[in-house]
């Protein structure tokens, strides 16, 4: 059974429907890129799958023992975080909070896993540093380590490379690919970067006026992505 199955999903915000009858599924080990123009509903789709808002119609099913709150999530930065006094260690550890229930403190095992995730993201040296003083790429690694604390199955990344320079962007993509290939973590990524999507993703979900869902190869053949790949000569 698929990890996540979306059936006849209709969604939007402020009572306005922007996507309807969306069907797709994500299997364990997939690397799905969600692409589409601004305002096509990428972020709304993500918020709906994460349970932050309700779909208008249709349903989201989970399988393979995945609970909806077991999705690791890499959100875009919020203004609050720009002046938040928090050490890297505190931020990473907070990824476990969802699994804590009413338990007030973190367990030894959780702290141990947090250390491992910090090591895996290559930010061991930053452990005691203040989060707001890090560079954009370093902050993304910290948030990725936090997301790994919340899940060992599925990562949801919301434009993980926005605002990063090309070198750091490439490193970030490699890190995500490594998590997908070596750690077996399923990845769903929202991206504007169609080039990267075609390079790394196993499946593509294109939303907008025309909707496409299928494998990377099928997407290349379909020609829907030409607007992006040819540099936007349409219109």
């Amino acid at each position: 059974m698929a990890l996540i199955t979306c059936q006849d999903l209709c969604l939007g915000y402020n009572g306005q429907e922007i996507l309807h009858d969306l069907n797709f599924e994500v299997n364990s080990g997939d690397y799905l890129c969600i692409v589409g123009e601004n305002g096509s509903g990428k972020s709304t789709l993500m918020r709906t799958i994460l349970g932050l808002q309700r779909p208008f119609a249709g349903q989201i099913l989970t399988g393979d023992g995945l609970r909806l709150d077991e999705i690791g999530y890499l959100p875009q930065q919020t203004p609050v975080q720009k002046d938040f006094p928090a050490s890297v260690w505190e931020v990473v550890l907070s990824g476990f909070e969802g699994g804590c229930g009413w338990r007030p403190f973190y367990t030894k095992a959780e702290k141990q896993r947090a250390e491992e995730n910090i090591l895996a993201m290559g930010i061991k040296a930053l452990r005691g540093r203040c989060y707001r003083e890090l560079s954009g790429g370093q902050q993304q690694r910290v948030l990725l380590a936090r997301a790994l604390c919340a899940t060992s199955k599925l990562l949801f990344l919301d434009e993980p490379v926005s605002g990063l320079d090309p070198k750091v962007t490439a490193e970030m993509y490699e890190l995500i690919e490594k998590l997908n290939r070596e750690h077996g973590i399923t990845v769903i990524m929202i991206s504007h970067d169609i080039g990267a999507a075609l390079r790394y993703a196993s499946h593509i979900l294109h939303i907008g006026d025309r909707v496409f869902f299928g494998t990377n190869a099928a997407y290349r053949e379909s020609g829907i992505g030409t607007f992006f790949t040819k540099g936007g000569e349409a219109q």
Partner: protein, 284 residues
């Protein structure tokens, strides 16, 4: 110097001075704990708004001639805090506008009620002392001190228990909600704690200066310290220190208690700012 010590020893013999110091320490400790969260969540004005609501509630209590106005004030303030925080994104009137409405409305109604129904001739004196903190901290009864102690212990215990949850919800509410943290429940709990703290603090500094008591220690600590834990601990210590200092100075110099404490907070803010600017903060 000996004259000052002699004066302090003399005052120490009076129970009301000891009560004032005890209550002062407790209230400043409680109010500093959630300061960081409030500043970062842009809830600073909720503190201000709620203190005005508490003022309105006190006016109602005095019109009803209640001898013990604490329960009524507490109830009304908690209800307002919940109303403000739980309307959330679906409210027609949002965030700052809702806070401003409740705050100004409660202030006006409170003053109106006092004006219409209070027989005492010294109306502006009454209003002034409610707003700026009266000598009431020096006239605390044993029951009030006990109630204040119990509530403070509860607030501190709740904060320690929910410390990691408060951090998660404040740092990144979307992530917390997406990964299964009951953000609504914790926001609700935070609202209740804030309301309790504000009602407590009204006795000390009055409703207008509550925001200062909540926000200054947190802002000062954030100039120097870089982790949530160290900022929280530092602002708690700083807040208690400033309150003690303020109360002692006000006893010795005969200045109003609330304003003296806030003045001490402001001085410490500049000291910490200077320290942070020179040393670039402590990496702890």
């Amino acid at each position: 110097m000996t004259a000052i010590l002699e004066k302090l020893t003399l005052y120490w013999q009076y129970p009301f001075v000891r009560y004032a110091l005890a209550v002062g320490v407790l209230i400043s400790l409680c109010s500093s704990l959630l300061g960081v969260t409030l500043v970062l969540k842009r809830f600073s004005f909720i503190g201000d708004g709620l203190s005005h609501v508490a003022f309105g509630a006190m006016a109602i209590a005095s019109v009803l001639h209640l001898t013990n106005d604490m329960p009524l004030v507490l109830l009304i303030t908690i209800l307002s805090a919940i109303a403000l925080l739980c309307t959330g994104q679906n409210a027609k009137i949002k965030g700052d506008a809702a806070v401003a409405m409740i705050s100004v409305g409660a202030l006006a109604i409170g003053y109106l009620l006092m004006n219409l129904f209070t027989p005492s001739g010294n109306l502006s004196g009454d209003v002034c002392s409610t707003l700026f903190g009266s000598t009431s901290i020096l006239t605390l009864t044993k029951t009030e001190v006990r109630l204040c102690t119990v509530l403070s212990v509860l607030v501190v215990a709740a904060f320690v228990f929910f410390y990691h949850k408060v951090f998660a919800v404040t740092f990144d509410e979307s992530f917390a909600a997406a990964t299964g943290v009951k953000t609504k429940v914790y926001n609700f709990i935070i609202a209740v704690i804030i309301a309790v703290i504000i009602v407590l603090a009204m006795n000390l500094v009055g409703s207008l200066l509550i925001s200062a008591l909540i926000i200054f220690p947190a802002l000062s600590a954030m100039r120097v310290f870089k982790s949530f834990f160290s900022v929280t601990v530092c602002s708690a210590i700083l807040s208690v220190f400033c309150s003690l200092l303020g109360i002692l100075i006000s006893i010795l110099a005969g200045t109003p208690v609330g304003s003296t404490i806030v003045a001490a907070d402001i001085v410490m803010f500049f000291v910490f700012s200077a320290f942070g600017a020179i040393f670039g903060g402590v990496h702890a």
